[in-house]
Amino acid sequence: MNLEELLRESLREQSATPPENLSRRTELERRIGRRRWARVAGRSGLAAAVAAVVVVGTAAGVVALRPSSPAAHSVAAGGPKPSASPSPSPSPPPLPEYSRGYHRTTDQRITLPGQGSLTLHVTPTNLDFRIGINCSAVRGQLVALAVNGHTVGTIVCGPETNLPGPPPPPLQLAGPDFNAHYDSWSDVGVRVGKPATFTITVGAEVEGRDGQEPSVGAPGASGDVFAGVYLPVPFDQYPFPTRPATLADLDAQRLFMMPDFGDSLGQLDSRSLAAPNGSYSATLTMPKFLDLTVCSVAPGRVRMLVDGQPADNTAFWDWDGSCYLGDAFASDAPEPPSLNLKNIHSGQKVTVTIITSDFTVPGWRVGFDQSAN
């Protein structure tokens, strides 16, 4: 018997009966939508604790070190304290001092096309920090974020006008999940107590060949790009902005690039509940991958549980209106067991509990949906 012949037989036989997947096209649509979203908008997570980080900023070439921007926030201890503010807000600074639960500790600017990159040296004491990037002035250029020479992800500057939905915010708070490739800074070699060098490179997008990620070429635009290090702030210490006279339209909020709200399995809406804060439940059939889309037009915190098990949580830090995509994996989902719910299998009835706090108005809603992953 010939080994190569046996190999061919074994490979044919072992793969002869693939399971049928009738929903592949639908799943691809969702993943394409998600990838667009992740690629263009980035993804910000919830800050749970204060990080003390030693930060020293240096830039390639001559870089102007900008002073901290004037605070557009008023410090309010004990949660958001709404107050009417009929006058329009001034344009936000390129790198606001506070944004989405984070506080900027340092920032830098480079000017294209003369300067194409900058570096930030960080010695973290924990791994909850973010790299803030605002490159909205060089629309269409590609930004690559690398740490210790390892690319974490890329993002296209400025909104893509041909895409539906609201544009992404100018400030991107990039974490290790920047392009959904990594879960933790430790996945790319960042260690607590050890200096790490973050490099932000900006230039024309060079298409990746054969499915590889795109790369950054020579700058092809003129304008300023800003980057800084952002540390998380506990919710009860965050200086929330004042409430606007008119709230944003909750029904108009969508995850960026998602075609709909994402509530095929049901939803909970604070406007139809007794109070904005409390514990509310819905019963549904658990899919392998449960999407929990939370949209809010007010500051507040949201916890999500499935049959009593913590699934996800998030917080909203301003009145602009935004959405968060949380998820919960059934026990039989093809994910690392540590990420899955315990003893909750797809197909069984589950109770999803949404616990909200610190909302001063009924300004949130949660949609339940299933996804491919």
């Binding site: 018997m1 046996l6 490979l11 044919r12 793969s15 592949r24 096209r25 993943r31």
Partner: protein
């Protein structure tokens, strides 16, 4: 997706075969589906730029994504023992050999496993395999040789072949 009918058609027609390729690399159907969809999503974004056979393009993404996945994420791969079989007839024996070989394949490093799948399931030439994986033809030759050598010396497989004096080189 709806605005790219050729892509839709490609997904419908070629997914089954490409899923098998992904499965032979990952050894888990759910992971293979994930890998296939990952590759198909990348292909969607690159669809207008694909010059030539899209299947070769997607196959390449599957292979390179698989090898890079192994470096950066847990795949949930669970080694599966071959089922117990009665070794009473030649056909059963051959079946058992294939099972043992399948298990031995699971011990190969990702790149070698990918090369074996591309060479012996997809029947690609050495140069096509090299192009697919983005490596040199020499690398394909050396990695194929090492993979076959490992399979021949796998204790489980070797025990059977030595006892029966089979597996010609």
């Amino acid at each position: 997706v709806a605005d790219r009918p050729e892509y839709d058609s490609f997904v419908a027609q070629r997914s089954p075969r490409l899923l098998r390729v992904a499965y032979l690399m990952t050894r888990d159907w759910a992971t293979a589906e994930d890998l296939l969809q990952t590759a198909m999503v990348k292909a969607w974004f690159a669809w207008s730029r694909i010059d030539g056979d899209p299947e070769a393009y997607v196959r390449k993404i599957i292979a390179t994504t698989f090898t890079s996945w192994r470096r950066r994420r847990w795949l949930g791969e669970i080694p599966q023992d071959p089922p117990d079989r009665e070794f009473t007839a030649d056909s059963s024996q051959r079946h058992a050999d294939r099972d043992l070989l399948w298990r031995s394949l699971g011990q190969l490093p990702p790149r070698q496993r990918a090369i074996v799948v591309l060479r012996y399931f997809e029947d690609l030439t050495e140069s096509q395999t090299a192009e697919t994986l983005g490596v040199s033809t020499g690398t394909v030759k050396s990695q194929t040789s090492r993979a076959l050598a490992k399979l021949r010396t796998d204790p489980a497989l070797n025990r059977v072949t030595v006892e029966r004096g089979e597996l010609a080189r």
